[in-house]
Amino acid sequence: MQTEIRHTWFLDHSPATVWEHLTNSELLSQWLMANDFRPVAGHHFMFRAGPVPKMDFDGNIYCQVLEIQPLKKLSYSWKFGPEPGKIVLDSLVTWTLTARGQGTELSLVHSGLQEPEHAIAIQGMREGWDKNVGTRMVQLMINPKIHETNS
């Protein structure tokens, strides 16, 4: 099951320019969202957007800078929920920059777009849930006596 988004774009601008637009709060707000980002590992910040109630999203994205390698890589956590203090999505955004001629190849990976517990539950039901093994596991979990009878 897909739980991440990957995209690569080519921008006809230097890595330094692209990097500035990813890490300067004012520039970032011009194309992404209002924010209080600072290019410092460990810095907690927020993006603010319009709420999308059906997505369980109240408009606030809670982030923390996790990794920062100037001109090369930037990653931050990306969490939100339906109301303050309640997080339903705990995901990760990673930007990677690679110089290509005069321009920059910019990659984005947005991963963990699923609560881990939910991913397991779904995986159990949708894919890879081998019917025999799966059923037997469930039986054992809920009724260990079956195991005794069978062995």
């Binding site: 099951m1 897909q2 739980t3 988004i5 995209h7 774009w9 921008l11 006809d12 601008h13 320019t17 692209v18 637009h21 011009q30 194309w31 992404l32 999308v52 109630p53 059906k54 997505m55 369980d56 339906p82 339903v88 999505l89 910019l106 984005l108 947005h110 777009l113 699923q114 609560e115 517990e117 939910h118 539950a121 779904i122 159990g124 039901m125 949708r126 849930w129 019917k131 799966g134 059923t135 469930v138 979990m141 809920i142 009724n143």
Partner: protein, 109 residues
């Protein structure tokens, strides 16, 4: 509008996840399903109602029995974040590209 909230509430409970796993094998009558759980019948019914409301199962009367059947709709709901953010990032990146291009045009002039 409450659909997603219900979706996550629905599978946030271990008993309900177990119900879904049991139903992923085969549809079951409510009585059969209840046999697998050490809880009162009204408690089982309450869980079933939550799963039904979130679109994970359908309930059909066959003969005298009520059958619970796994429904794919509930699962589709869970994947909305992927679609939403995919679209979100594409739009934002177009905006970034536009912004960068406008600036270099200005610098060139």
């Amino acid at each position: 509008m409450k659909q997603t909230v219900d979706t996550f509430q629905a599978i946030g409970d271990p008993n309900r996840r177990l119900m879904l796993r049991l139903l992923s094998k085969d549809s079951l009558t409510i009585n059969k399903l209840a046999e697998n759980f050490d809880m009162t019948r009204p408690a089982v019914s309450k869980h079933i109602k939550i799963l039904y409301r979130a679109g994970f199962i359908t309930i059909e009367d066959i003969g005298r029995e009520r059958h619970c059947i796994l429904n794919q709709n509930g699962f589709k709901e869970l994947r909305q974040w992927i679609d939403y953010f995919d679209n979100f990032w594409q739009t934002k990146l177009k905006k970034l590209e536009y912004l960068l291009n406008e600036k270099s045009k200005k610098n060139a002039n």
